[in-house]
Symmetry: C2
Subunit: 182 residues, 2 copies
């Protein structure tokens, strides 16, 4: 039950976007560019960054939705959500992605926590300026989405299986196809 009257019973950001379509539009456009737009990072990698930051921000809805989207860019196994919570112990991710996740983790705490050494470590693993830029903006953007979702007290399904269809839609249909795929 959200803190404001949404006139819908949609979960998480989906209900908020239906309530205020004017702000939903740029919010969805930003997600589409960052997570599915042209990039040398795969969409699975970018969704994992989004899900990881959301978990650090204690946002169950966003962690689950974007973890499920990452899974659907891969083999569809939702156990990935548990592995994201555990800090990527099972999935075989590249040293470059690990270095970018370290930057994302610093951004989640506060922008000025990112150091030149964090950037250098990512560069040493082959990260480009654009990849570093997009990682910082993805992490920053989820610090927004997460606060929007939880700050208004929206509800979210508990079980990861409940995010399977959302994850499939986000991965394969995207964020701007219709206003309810937030």
């Amino acid at each position: 039950m959200s803190y404001i009257t949404l006139n819908n019973n949609l979960p998480g950001i989906v209900g908020l976007m239906a309530y205020r379509p004017e702000t939903a539009k740029p919010l969805n456009e930003l997600a589409e560019i960052l997570l599915r737009g042209e990039s040398t990072l795969t969409s699975a990698e970018r969704e994992m960054i989004a899900s990881y930051v959301s978990y650090q921000n204690e946002c169950h809805f966003c962690h689950s939705s974007h973890g499920a989207a990452a899974a659907h860019h891969l083999d569809g196994n939702l156990d990935l959500l548990d592995d994201i919570k555990a800090g990527f112990k099972k999935i075989d991710i590249s040293p470059k992605l690990r270095a970018l996740l370290n930057i994302a983790k610093k951004v989640q705490i506060l922008g000025n926590k990112v150091t030149g050494a964090d950037i250098k470590a990512a560069r040493n693993e082959g990260a480009t300026d654009r990849e570093i830029h997009d990682t910082v903006l993805i992490a920053a953007a989820f610090c927004m989405y997460n606060r929007y979702v939880d700050g208004l007290g929206t509800w979210a399904p508990e079980e990861k299986e409940a995010y399977d269809e959302t994850g499939r839609m986000l991965a394969h249909e995207g964020y701007t196809r219709n206003k309810f795929t937030g």
Copy 2:
């Protein structure tokens, strides 16, 4: 000197937006709707929320730019920036805005820090659902902008007087007139 090569020497988010115009577009559109779009909160009030959250996030560029924008919606006196830092001791703001600033401060910490009591206190001062929604989203959005600006190590002028013209432009020309008014 930012962490990545921007190929411009523009400060703060302005340099980042010139570097990556694709993401600049929804970022500016969101700011335009939230800070200058139709609302029962004045633009001065909304810019004060933005500047206040940016100060809590230790983002000097955003605190100063949006504090200067708030000043330019009022009498143009940049001493407002110091008063925002001090927690609005001098400016005569409404009890409703004070209650909304309390919500913004909770959002800045983390979305789930906002309580039903915080919402009720704002309602008791006359805040509407739309005002509460927009306050939460403004606070959340600045948790993004601030981290974007500082996470990439951009530079920012120190003195508040250096933000006078930026504040005037943001207040009176807005965020979408051209891609450099971030």
